[in-house]
């Protein structure tokens, strides 16, 4: 959730060092940025990665563009591509949609500061934090290890930005992806079950019981209560891990791109 409009000019001087000068002429609204986030995820993440730093010499998540500087130039670059490179023109992205991607790119750089301030992370150490001190496998699963009660993190590095992982670790309630919501139900005979909502329709609900990890289906007419759990069940790691450990953990999570299709 992006609660505030980003003044794109604010961060340019901070993050564009060493790259072509970034000249942004616009101020973007949170809805534009959110639309751009979705466009970016659908069209850009596969090559550029969620942090925008997968392609050498084109760290677009930090405002480092080699062949464009103004917002208009970026829009044209997205739609026309770069000849003789893997960056193909994406005519299917309309100009207004391309503009939202630019809005999102500008916002990425602005919001990367929290992670940029962390010490350099080490993925191997982060794996150890994940499996021991962090206790993360009690709720999360990577590959075939860990619980299914929380979101599976096998491909989290291909899906989420470092800054988003950081925020989830220190402020778990700040944003809960809808598909990751827990629901609590109470059946007419008094049984209480909490689990991950998998599917529902007007008459039934399907969930993964967080306790026994079984797939369960209920008729809504047999339920006394049916509600989402407001707060995340994940603890904040703000005071539980050192900044170094947090950075290691984020490095590890960012390295998880999944192994299978």
């Amino acid at each position: 959730m992006w609660a505030i409009a980003i003044r794109s000019c604010l961060f340019i001087s901070m993050l564009a060092a060493g790259a072509a000068p970034v000249i942004a002429q616009h101020e973007y609204t949170s809805s534009e940025i959110e639309a751009g986030r979705q466009q970016y995820a659908a069209n850009c993440t596969r090559c550029h990665g969620p942090d925008g730093d997968n392609v050498a010499n084109a760290d677009i998540g930090h405002g480092k563009f080699r062949r464009a500087s103004t917002d208009e130039e970026l829009v044209q670059l997205i739609r026309n591509g770069v000849p003789n490179t893997a960056m193909a023109g994406m005519n299917n992205i309309s100009e207004p949609n391309a503009k939202t991607i630019v809005a999102y790119l500008r916002s990425m750089a602005a919001t990367a500061a929290a992670v940029a301030a962390l010490p350099t992370g080490d993925a191997a150490r982060g794996k150890a934090v994940f499996e021991s001190k962090g206790g993360c496998t009690n709720c999360h699963r990577i590959g075939d290890v860990g619980s299914r009660a929380g979101p599976d993190l096998s491909q989290i590095g291909a899906q989420r930005r470092s800054v988003e992982l950081h925020r989830s670790l220190i402020e778990p309630d700040a944003e809960i992806v809808p598909a990751n919501r827990l629901i609590k139900i109470v059946t007419r005979d008094g049984a209480t079950i909490t689990g991950r909502l998998l599917n529902q329709d007007s008459f039934t609900v399907q969930l993964l019981d967080a306790k026994d990890e079984k797939l369960k289906s209920f008729s809504k007419s047999n339920l006394r209560e049916f509600a989402f759990v407001d707060k995340s069940t994940m603890p904040s790691y703000k005071d539980k891990l050192s900044t170094q450990e947090l950075s290691d953990l984020i490095s590890y999570l960012s390295s998880l791109k999944g192994q299978a299709q």
């Binding site: 206790g135 496998t137 009690n138 709720c139 699963r141 590959g143 075939d144 860990g146 619980s147 299914r148 009660a149 929380g150 599976d152 096998s154 827990l182 609590k184 909490t194 998998l198 599917n199 329709d201 039934t204 399907q206 993964l208 967080a210 306790k211 026994d212 990890e213 079984k214 797939l215 369960k216 289906s217 008729s219 759990v229 707060k231 069940t233 603890p235 999944g258 192994q259 299978a260 299709q261």
Partner: protein, 543 residues
Amino acid sequence: MIRRTILLTLITAASLQAQVSYERILRAGQEPQNWLTYSGNYNGQRYSSLVQITPENVKNLELQWIFQARSLEKFEATPIMTDGIMYTVEAPNNIVALDAATGRVFWTYNYTPAQAARPCCGRVNRGLAILGDTLFMATIDARLIAVDAKSGRPLWNVAVAKPESGYAMTVAPLVVKDKVIVGTAGGEYGIRGFIAAYDAKTGKEAWRFYTIPGPGEPGHETWPASNNAWEHGGASVWVTGSYDPDLNLTYWGIGNPGPDWNGDDRGGDNLYSCSVVALDADTGKLKWHYQFSPHDEFDYDSTQVPVLVDTQWQGSQRKLMLWANRNGFFYVLDRATGQFLLGKPFVEVNWASGFDEKGRPQRIPGMTPSAQGTLILPGNQGGTNWYNPSYSPKTGLFYIPTWANYSSLYVKQPVEYQEGRNFGGGTPRPTTPTGIRTTVNNYAKEDEGYGAIRAVDPHTGQMKWQFKMTDVTDAGVLTTASNLLFSGGREGYFYALDARDGKLLWKFPVGGRVISGPMTYSLGGKQYVEVAAGNSLFVFALK
């Protein structure tokens, strides 16, 4: 407080027991409420000991729910059902987890096969295997994929063979101990078939058995020394094998040699095409084989599920294998040794007159494909095909979905091997009007190429009864301990027969071809019967 409770419960969740252990699969017959393998259990009998639905009350079956697949391909999969969750495949290769009581979807795993995939005879899939909390699917682009049964997330995905060379997989895998066993299709494209086992945890290949032996291996001499026909000789695997835990042998039916209809360049018996092979389940080493159709030129794949039966045979207890083959003969073999015990035609046959004492068919001279065409019974689709038969220990009868009085005109043509291209070498033309796929059926004569369920006494090979259909059938058969038999056909009915005499007890117009084997399970004290028809999956239970 809720939060604390949830946290505590989440922590205990990590030490959960795996869902379907090997021991459970081994004893699947003892938990008939579930359906844990393609055939229901290792013996391939498609027989359930559930008895709530009986010949007396089957008329009270009513539809419980329908799952409509988002696929226009043929729906050939038999689901797995364990502990209330049904897992099936939307063709070609999407896995769906359904609530077995309501049909509502828990999750789907969508897989897009490579464009190079070109399976003969439909972009289909016949089902899944499960071990622990992991599902296994063989894909039409010849990959084996492991998926978490709770979440639908992929765990590993390995290449079994190259789709560019014509390899494909439509088989439901077979789990034995810690391995997942699959076989490759592609016999119409000049592959060299194989069966391979993969570590269930990692996807690493554990063993491989080529269904065409290479130079220096026994059986290689059944291919010409003068050319490389063996390298493109086909010998596919289309359906799931069986397993005898006492003998530790896994049995698989092997498909036709290639080119299908022109054997001129592949003189010899062409092992192990059109055979059953008995492999050590740990090593893949061949223990024995029996070839049903040496040097086949009629596309008579031995693409059947081996049915394992322990019973009396001529006065002593024997470990038997029953097999109704595409070539029109019903066989009884000793599954410990491969010894031929009986071979009798179950449909009209004109390519062989009988067998010698070792079980080699005695060919009728002149009955081979020719340039002008030769009329052969059974025709190209066979007396039966990949759809499963059933054996009921209760009635002692073996039930075969049959194409009766059906022939093809086999025309032979020259063909040269080109990687990934069709390697048929001829055209089999149906001479009886079968294969009807329209909604009308007004040009077949009575008793000409009709479908039937035929009940055969395994001790004699004699037909006890038959249930005739107007059109032919691609439906498998399920039997139960209450003497019920469930099947369907191309006409779009799902029906129940009395397994003792073939009398029709109940039918339901599912409105699409039944091209799968029915299965049954029980939940909350209620027995369900499942069948896929058209593009949907139907589930019935008593009112």
